[in-house]
Symmetry: C2
Subunit: 349 residues, 2 copies
DNA sequence: TCGTAGAATGGAAACGTTTCCATTCGGATC
DNA sequence: GATCCGAATGGAAACGTTTCCATTCTACGA
């Protein structure tokens, strides 16, 4: 009883299905009288055109596949909000799934989206499985990367945050405050390339400013809370003379905060902490955290725009040349301060 | 060039389309030799069956429409994660959109989902627009409410958290710690009914325990950060003698924490704060917050299960009788303590 | 040896649209 | 008055599947 079709409407209005279609899609020409009749019949029957029939015929669904590593991560969530805002405005449907940074799951999701005949895919791609994306490209689907790149597919439409610039400015900021023994808390090399990039920018900036980088102050943690905490704690204990630390993710930043609390280090009096990655609670923290913030929502919006505004339907979203790089922002709150003369060596244990 | 259809595969394998379909769907009977031929041809041509064609024929898409108020809210995000986990496992596609708690937007999203012919809808419904959901029901779509109810549609499948139990236990906990002047920081009446329910449970529990509820200690804020902060601050200033506050949402809890910091009230020495609604940062807060936690992810998983496991396809997810109520948990951290003898009246300003 | 059950297979209809094409009709132009 | 053009309309094909039904063939039991 549920499904009333265009035929039912045509019958009720006493016209042909073609006419009903023309009225409803707004194409072609129909007389005002007929239009009114059709509209009335449609409303009367509570007719809802089937996107299935339409999509089958028109060969486009208006669907957008969104693949993110983890919806519970605030950055991903905000990014998603941006995508939804744009897609909703343009009448697009968003299909979503999470990869958990697993290349196999990611590939499976892509496969499903392809079956669903989405018009395009927006993804924060996992490292090291370019085949997945090559197949998307060869399928003729639109494709936009966000937040990360896939080196093997240069020229793919991409939206990035200027994280390098963010790292640079936070290092400059800390050095400007007088810090000379600045630590870097980053991810393991196997991690996404952006982390490694963070580290190299950190090193480069420090060198540019004439500050020696000590290898002992550059540590890497695996992406678990425990590993992050251990790395932070051991860093503080090993080098009680460090005065500032740059954490490369919010997880690492939290570890640094927790570890310094545990060791009774005052922030920022004893140690300054800056985090590359903003989260809602950075301003609720005590003290509020100085962070590098990425425009997550804008990135999502832009990514979706890139996908939708792409020239050809089939060729959409690819071969766009250079990535869109959105600026990051150094949000100065209260977790970084000038170096004090006081030594805290004695307290270090 | 992209789209290779079942006909192409049939031609390449030298069989009829019906046979290809049987091989691919695993129905009917085909000889091993034929099966191999078909499979080879399909792989060879990189054939991907179109969900559109299939759905059109079978009259079910495997699509699940998810409507939440705001993807950036941690509870909603975790809930979504649960839905995705379940749906992915069952081969379902999740369509997502956000209502921003606006009934008009919500209705529009439902309309779109209906056009897409989703098999069912999971929603955290906005108050006061039952027509939207009645139309879904009459469409024969599956429908599951989560986190909130729609009074006008009793019997609809629903997944809830036992928030009343949570409020009760937190009040009991505070009174057990010796608190007698306990404040309640809630939402305006116009807000969702759960907030009002929080308030009434708060009152009832206090009365049961023989503690008088003072009207002045029950305040309501509009759902903005400013309003929440103003409500909390004025509460503290107006009644410097209160010893504990129960905040009915994380926004309100944050306002309470911020306001007490601003007024130099120590937590929990001067004032105990408990929040109904867990967020990732409650344990990063200083001190870590005592909260009532809802099993967001489980709720999402259960909601999806309810939708998928529903008996009839068309009648799915409706008329399930009583809601599924998942337990909340009182997570005791460090923001509540016993009442101290010290008066802080002098510090109140 | 014949009949028949069952397996294996293909043709064709159906799902709900859009759109091409043909048809009709009114009116304007010459 | 004949011609032509454009508006209005309907029939039918096509989109890519699944599935019903009919057909062929094999093998088995009587």
């Amino acid at each position: 009883m549920a499904s009333v079709t265009i035929k039912d409407v045509a019958a009720a209005a006493g016209v042909g299905v073609a006419t009903v279609s023309r009225v409803l899609t707004g194409t072609g020409s129909v007389s005002a009288a007929t239009r009114a009749k059709v509209l009335a019949a449609a409303k009367n029957l509570d007719y809802r055109p089937s996107a299935l029939g339409r999509s089958l015929k028109t060969q486009r669904t208006g669907g957008i596949g969104l693949i993110i590593p983890n919806i519970s991560d605030p950055f991903c969530a905000d990014f998603t909000a941006g995508v939804l805002a744009c897609a909703h405005g343009q009448g697009g449907q968003v299909l979503i799934d999470v990869s958990h940074d697993d290349p196999a799951i990611e590939a499976e999701i892509v496969e499903r989206f392809a079956e669903q005949r989405v018009d395009g895919i927006i993804a924060m791609p996992v490292r090291g499985r370019p085949e997945t994306w090559k197949s998307v490209a060869s399928l003729g689907l639109g494709l936009v990367f966000a937040g990360r790149t896939v080196e093997e597919l240069p020229g793919t439409a991409t939206v990035l945050a200027d994280e390098a610039g963010g790292v640079r400015s936070v290092v400059e900021y800390l050095v400007g405050l007088g810090h000379r023994r600045v630590a870097f808390l980053g991810g393991r090399p196997a991690e996404s390339s952006t982390r490694r990039e963070h580290e190299s920018v950190f090193r480069a900036t420090l060198e540019e400013l004439g500050v020696a980088v000590e290898e002992e102050l550059v540590v890497r943690a695996r992406p678990t809370a425990d590993s992050a905490y251990a790395a932070a704690a051991s860093l503080f204990m090993r080098r009680p003379d460090l005065t500032a630390v740059v954490a490369a993710s919010h997880q690492l930043g939290e570890a640094a905060v927790l570890a310094s609390r545990e060791l009774n280090l005052r922030i920022p009096a004893d140690v300054s902490i800056a985090v590359v990655d903003d989260v809602p609670w950075s301003e609720l923290c005590d003290p509020p955290l100085t962070v590098v913030s990425r425009p997550a929502q804008d990135m999502g919006y832009r990514a979706c725009e890139l996908l939708l505004r792409s020239p050809g339907t089939r060729e959409g979203g690819r071969a766009q040349g250079r990535p869109v790089v959105l600026p990051t922002e150094l949000v100065v709150r209260a977790s970084c301060g000038p170096v004090t003369g006081s030594t805290r060596t004695a307290r270090g244990r």
